[in-house]
Amino acid sequence: MDVYEVFQRRTHDDPLVHAGSIKAQDLEMALILARETHFRHGEGEECWVVKREDLHAVPNPETMGGVTDRSYRRQDGYVGVGAKLKRVTEEMKKLGKSITRE
């Protein structure tokens, strides 16, 4: 018997998410059984299975996305930008540099 990981798509344009796992002796049985173990309440529109040994985790996940400052890759690196726009806009208005053309 092998362990099969079960994945579902709730609706067709959702991503696949992990739903759980089952034990089965082969792929055919896994497909037959997963249907009733995980989807009997209509949990999703699609069900996928993959043998656990065919799933491989990336090592050292704690360093993914960088350990040193990578804020420039995320929104939090730019939190001040909205305020800066306001400030510069006001400054330009004061200096008479802003443009109006209606």
């Binding site: 090592p59 050292n60 704690e62 360093t63 960088g66 350990v67 040193t68 400052d69 990578r70």
Partner: protein
């Protein structure tokens, strides 16, 4: 340079900065898109490490990290000339990456025991990211060494071309004896060199690349890739221009590839003194 710690920090930071600069030039050009992304992250790691080291240096030196990175005269840069070599064939980039990251790993591990607290802390962080660099470099090393004839041949040639310059990563530092006596360097560059040589020697032996350590680099033939600006340069010219010893970088004596790199890297910064970007 009065503070001996500065000579160590300049050497470490400039290696990372200049290598990171070269690797970042590949972003958008690597002929294998998934690898483009991986190499770009490694480039960003190296530049980020340079920035950490320059932050520390900035306290000693007084200039801010950007001024240190982009505002020095060419002769003040202390990177090994391996790091400044132009991007040509991807096999050459991977060979330099493998040689460099093993060397970097050896010295960073040694520096974990440094008496210089700020450096020790930075090194601990850097090592976390460098682990991926080693995995990446070794994975490519095995695939190319074990690859089709052409790939193996190119990689072997590239390693032979780069090995002399890679050894010069361990060129003695200014004030090294003071650094060692103060425990800032727990071990000296010569010991680092020997440890690195034993490590890469073993790996080269394993894949039948032992000739890399005995041969002088032979010029490669006619590979072309765009440089940072897209101009095309052939490795044939490049290989001939590399000084055979590969040394000099730690004294600020660079290969002729450094000045164009420096000009491009620093021109905008230098043209607008005091500007914010």
């Amino acid at each position: 340079m009065s503070d001996p710690r500065a000579s160590l920090l300049f050497a470490l930071a400039d290696d990372e900065l200049i290598l990171g600069h070269r690797l970042s030039e590949w972003t958008g050009w690597v002929p294998y898109i998934e690898e483009d992304l991986a190499l770009s992250s490694i480039a960003q790691d190296e530049i980020a490490h340079a920035r950490m080291l320059l932050d520390i240096l900035s306290v000693i030196d007084g200039r801010d990290p950007d001024a240190l990175a982009l505002g020095r005269a060419p002769g003040e840069y202390r990177n090994a000339i391996l790091c400044e070599q132009p991007n040509t064939d991807f096999a050459f980039t991977l060979a330099c990456h493998w040689l460099y990251d093993h060397a970097d790993n050896v010295r960073l591990r040694a520096l974990q025991e440094s008496s210089f607290k700020e450096l020790r802390e930075a090194v601990a962080v850097m090592l976390l990211e460098e682990r991926y660099h080693l995995e990446h470099a070794d994975a490519w090393f095995r695939r190319l060494a074990d690859g089709p004839v052409d790939a193996r041949h190119r990689f072997g040639e590239a390693l032979a071309n780069a090995i002399g310059m890679a050894e010069a990563l361990f060129e003695p530092l200014d004030d090294e004896s003071v650094l060692v006596s103060e425990g800032i360097l727990p071990t000296g560059t010569e010991e680092w060199h020997d440890e690195w040589m034993a490590r890469i020697g073993g790996m080269l032996d394993e894949v039948g690349f032992d000739q890399v350590l005995t041969s002088q680099g032979e010029p490669e033939t006619g590979e072309m890739v765009p440089t940072s600006t897209g101009e095309i340069e052939s490795t044939e010219q490049i290989a001939r221009r590399v000084p055979s010893s590969g040394a000099g970088g730690r004294r600020g004596e660079h290969s002729e590839h450094f000045e164009p790199l420096w000009l491009e890297m620093t021109a905008l910064y230098r043209a607008h003194p005091g500007a914010r970007w």
